[in-house]
């Protein structure tokens, strides 16, 4: 189909093809959903049109001779610290389209990454570090509301438990998969996450898109969301879950709703979301039955009632300025797990300006929430899950030391499944078969491979976490959780150190 060229918009990438290496096998032609590569039968040569390239590397990855390389388009603007190329290009795009700029994945602006400003501790001499390969190293984590104290039944000897614990979620490693809905990602991607969660003894999250009937089998390892759109929510859905999550906000777009375009709502998605086929799936910005903390309390208890108090109820919010006070309110309203999604959290589609400018880093949000709940003496009443931009096991260890009970990984999980962060999720043309519903593309993610890679990632990170804990002389995750003594700040202002409540390196 011919579309009018947008003259001001220049290619983002330059596709280079090494003619000495290219064997005209046309794998690239077959693999690019953006029609970058094309075989000219007359000339018997493959040619590439850089203009359409999104830099997803599908072609380069599958090229059997590594003949393809992809560079940033070398078209340089006159250096301008104020108007950098990014800003200029965005203005061009909007001048051409007259629309809101959209982006996929998380905030990519160069804000400081505070994980990289925190350093971990290790034992020397005065106490022994522990070798996780030789000695037990425990990552088992329980999410849910805990009482302040345990009561023992007085008369009995040996001691017997009198306290009845609230429902707890048991994780073999303190890492879960972030909410990603069926619709925003493909069925194969959802299946991979669910299978991996089961295999690794942790949990995947349905997101707000409902639960595909074939994924019910994995519900014991799934946290099911109740979001403003209420997609796919009925009593069976609620009772199928291992835990429920009320989604208030998302780090990538605080205060913004969701929008799944109608063309993506095929028969299967329509059945799963319980909306007519081909209609846009719109999640309102707020829950229209939650305008205050009391309303939240009502929904939390409605869900508990509906599920006979058999599963913990999570509440997820975006990390915004007064996150600590909000979190404390949520806990008092009955949230058993508080999920804080930092401003680097991912998304299938968000207005670029929102994604890049709203919210605060998870590092500060987490530190503030944990400290606040402790000050108020209600830290036991809820677990805290941190999300939004966890890139490696060290990030996870630092988050737990800051006070998180567990973390959610979204982007990292997608990357494990092949995502190359081209940020074009919203186009539905994901060449890696993840953020698409096009049957030609969804085939590209073999869920057996997806599962294996996800399990490997969790396994690798868990091993590294154990190594780091062992180095600190700690053999149980609960002794790392909130143990900020094992963190030291580097290149941080006194104020930042104070908020994180950690000492500076050298102190």
């Amino acid at each position: 189909m011919l579309k009018a060229r947008q003259w001001l918009v220049q290619p983002d990438f330059l596709v280079r093809r090494d003619p000495d290496k290219c064997i005209q096998c046309q794998v690239c032609v077959r693999q690019c959903s953006n029609d970058v590569h094309e075989y000219d039968a007359e000339e018997e040569v493959v040619i590439s049109n850089s203009a359409e390239c999104v830099g997803c590397h599908r072609c380069a990855t599958l090229c059997p001779t590594n003949a393809i390389s992809i560079e940033q388009a070398p078209l340089e603007f006159r250096p301008n610290a104020n108007w950098d190329g990014n800003m200029i290009r965005n203005a061009y795009k909007q001048a051409e389209s007259g629309g809101v700029l959209l982006s996929g994945m998380g905030n990519d602006r160069p804000y400081p990454i505070y994980w990289d400003h925190m350093l971990l501790n290790a034992s020397q001499v005065t106490n022994p570090s522990i070798d996780p390969l030789r000695e037990p190293m425990e990552l088992l984590t329980h999410l849910g509301c805990k009482p302040d104290r345990v009561e023992l039944s007085p008369a009995s000897n040996p001691a017997k438990l009198a306290t009845r614990l609230e429902p707890q979620l048991e994780l073999e490693t303190p890492i879960m998969f972030s909410a990603m809905s069926y619709g925003s990602i493909s069925y194969h991607a959802c299946l991979s996450l669910a299978q991996a969660a089961r295999e690794a003894g942790t949990f995947a999250n349905s997101g707000e898109g409902g639960l595909h009937k074939d994924l019910r089998a994995f519900a014991d390892n799934m946290i099911l969301q109740v979001a403003s759109g209420r997609f796919g929510v009925d009593v069976d859905y609620l009772n199928a879950a291992a835990a429920l999550e009320i989604k208030i906000g998302q780090g990538a777009k605080p205060g913004i709703g969701g929008h799944l375009p109608g063309e993506k709502v095929d028969a299967s998605i329509s059945a799963t979301r319980m909306i007519p086929q081909g209609t846009d799936a719109l999640s309102p910005a707020p829950h229209h039955d939650i305008y205050s903390i009391e309303d939240l309390r009502q929904l939390i208890y409605a869900l508990k009632e509906a599920t006979r108090y058999s599963k913990p109820v999570f509440v997820k919010i975006a990390a915004v300025h007064n996150v600590a006070a909000i979190a404390s309110g949520m806990v008092r309203a009955g949230a058993e797990v508080v999920v804080i999604d930092g401003f680097r959290g991912g998304t299938g589609a968000a207005p670029t300006m929102i994604r890049d400018n709203v919210g605060i880093p998870i590092e500060f949000a987490l530190a503030a929430v944990d400290s606040r709940l402790r000050q108020e003496g209600i830290r036991n009443r809820a677990s805290v899950v941190a999300a939004g931009g966890f890139r490696c096991s060290a990030d996870v260890v630092k988050a737990i030391a800051l006070g998180a009970d567990a973390v959610n990984i979204g982007t990292a999980a997608l990357v494990a499944m092949g995502c190359h962060l081209c940020q074009k999720c919203y186009t539905g043309k994901c060449n890696w078969g993840i953020a698409t519903q096009d049957p030609i593309l969804t085939k590209r993610l073999n869920p057996n491979i997806g599962t294996r890679r996800l399990v490997n990632l969790l396994r690798a990170w868990s091993l590294e976490i154990k190594e780091m804990m062992g180095g600190m002389g700690i053999n149980a995750i609960e002794s790392l959780r909130g143990n900020r003594d094992h963190l030291r700040g580097i290149n941080l202002t006194g104020r930042e150190l104070a908020i994180l409540d950690i000492k500076a390196a050298g102190e």
């Binding site: 064997i23 005209q24 693999q31 030609i440 085939k443």
Partner: protein, 148 residues
């Protein structure tokens, strides 16, 4: 006996199987040289069929009672006890094409210059056939059927 198991639902139609089959059965075994110099002297033993999102790679099924073996009038087509593969001993083949006539999956071809029958040999001697080893999406698996 190990066979190549086809997973139609995961075939992405990239045709890397065909490409690597050629390389594996070439003289030089160097992909770029193969496509420069040997291309015309090679026919892939695996063939990708595609229409819309349905696609799969098909090569000789190495049938238990192979019709091509029954039909072969020269004994070129034979069963390899070691690998269980149905192989075509090309210097016995005279190119009568009986095998092509009877192969229900159409996995045998007339070879580069229509001299003798050519087909998948499971990359004889290799631990894993090239098409399987080079499938990026595990749409081809090398294993026993009952493992499935």
């Amino acid at each position: 006996m190990k066979r190549v198991i086809i997973k139609e639902e995961f075939c992405i139609g990239c045709r890397l199987c065909e490409i690597n089959c050629l390389v594996q059965h070439s003289k030089s075994k160097k992909i770029i040289k193969v496509f420069r110099n040997e291309r015309d002297s090679l026919v892939s033993g695996v063939q990708v069929e595609q229409s819309g999102y349905v696609s799969f790679a098909i090569q000789c099924r190495h049938c238990e009672d192979a019709p091509c073996m029954e039909a072969c009038m020269t004994g070129a087509m034979h069963w390899d006890a070691e690998t269980g593969a149905v192989l075509c001993e090309q210097d016995r083949c005279v190119g009568c094409w009986m095998c092509i006539m009877v192969c229900p999956v159409g996995a045998i071809n007339t070879g580069p210059n229509r001299a003798v029958a050519s087909k998948c040999d499971l990359c004889y001697g290799a631990e894993m056939p090239a098409c399987v080893a080079n499938c990026p999406n595990e749409a081809l698996i090398y294993g026993e059927y009952d493992e499935e």
